[in-house]
Symmetry: C2
Subunit: 190 residues, 2 copies
DNA sequence: GAAAATAGTTGAACAAGTTCAACTTGATAA
DNA sequence: TTATCAAGTTGAACTTGTTCAACTATTTTC
């Protein structure tokens, strides 16, 4: 079944019956995205939430100075969206771009909101997912404050070796919040 | 009624009946904390979630180098906890310290987990709260990457003037991720 | 398979932020 | 009120990270 990965992922965060799982997954539709194509572009309003089946995405913003800043990467078994734009239905500051030919399952905002109503445990599912994400963001902010760029680079490379291996140094630098020139110098040092 | 502020806060995030509100608030108990006293200390396991009625708290960690790093401040009408330690029941890396004589409403972890079961809309309430918090953390991370210390300082001082006015420059610096000496130089410039 | 575009490297000059130490100011406590 | 302690200021030397420019290597495209 094509939705197996999604079902496994959901089961990690809430205990659902098979019929509930089926009912939820029904609303997700597959989409293929070619390398370099975008699922969302800065200025658009995010009307979907996505789950990566295959490939890799980069979620980034371009600031006033023209610098790209990567919020996170999403690879197989990760969720992806602009939660700010999705919740508030305001224009997104983010770009969601495929780094390689990729496949996602998408759910429309209206369907997702309906699921919260029709299947109460969906509330718990996303409550738990959001809280786990919150923990990750808090930890990352502390690391950004306490650690040097070199330490942050090694942490990233060691913690997510399979993601790091898919990325260019430019993309990694934009995630770490440093220039790619400086990352090049860091890598030479050690 | 002493719980009015809490009820108003909850109502912003989910629509509850009065009886549900009463049932939820029943489990919160007031606690007074003297200036400089701690509600949670690094190494302890966080067994509560709190809501500030009065005063101001600083949530911070002390890293290996001995530097204090402030995750956030919580003043009247804000929530406060170590969500990492609370969820995983692992020793906390955080300290929650009162910056002035303060009052909070606390709910025990076991009571909160029971509320998720007994009042389904509590799931929605914390799902929405978590997602709003997630948005705030993502925005803050982007600001940390795109803006200079000076820009971040002015953003903080302008966005939260009533919090900033309660804080020493040392505390603000530890929130911005810079030294207090450098903050002093920033303030002199402009 | 050649041409063009993009990624990565290096160096030199620079800017942002830290460290340490000495000092001034302000708050707290006895 | 004075003594003490913490907060804030300032300067000099230093480290971390940036900018720009020139170059090399690697992909991508036609």
């Amino acid at each position: 079944m094509v939705n197996d990965l999604l079902k496994q992922n959901i089961k990690k965060n809430a205990q659902l019956s098979n019929s509930e799982l089926e009912e939820i997954c029904k609303y997700f539709y597959p989409q293929s995205i070619k390398k370099k194509a975008s699922l969302l572009t800065q200025g658009e309003i995010c009307k979907f939430e996505g789950f990566v089946l295959e490939g890799c995405f980069r979620i980034f913003t371009i600031d006033k100075k023209g610098n790209e800043n990567t919020l996170y990467f999403a690879t197989r078994d990760w969720w992806l969206m602009d939660i700010d734009s999705f919740m508030n239905q305001t224009p997104s500051n983010l770009n969601i771009q495929a780094l390689e030919d990729s496949k996602v399952l998408l759910i429309n905002r209206t369907d997702k909101l309906a699921l919260y109503e029709s299947i109460p445990i969906v509330e718990k599912l996303f409550r738990v997912m959001s809280q786990k994400a919150l923990v990750a963001w808090q930890r990352r902010l502390i690391r950004n404050h306490c650690e040097t760029a070199k330490e942050r680079y090694h942490y990233f490379a060691n913690t997510y070796p399979n993601i790091a291996s898919k990325l260019t140094d430019k993309q990694i630098a934009s995630y770490l919040g440093i220039t790619h020139e400086f990352l090049s110098k860091i890598k030479k040092q050690s």
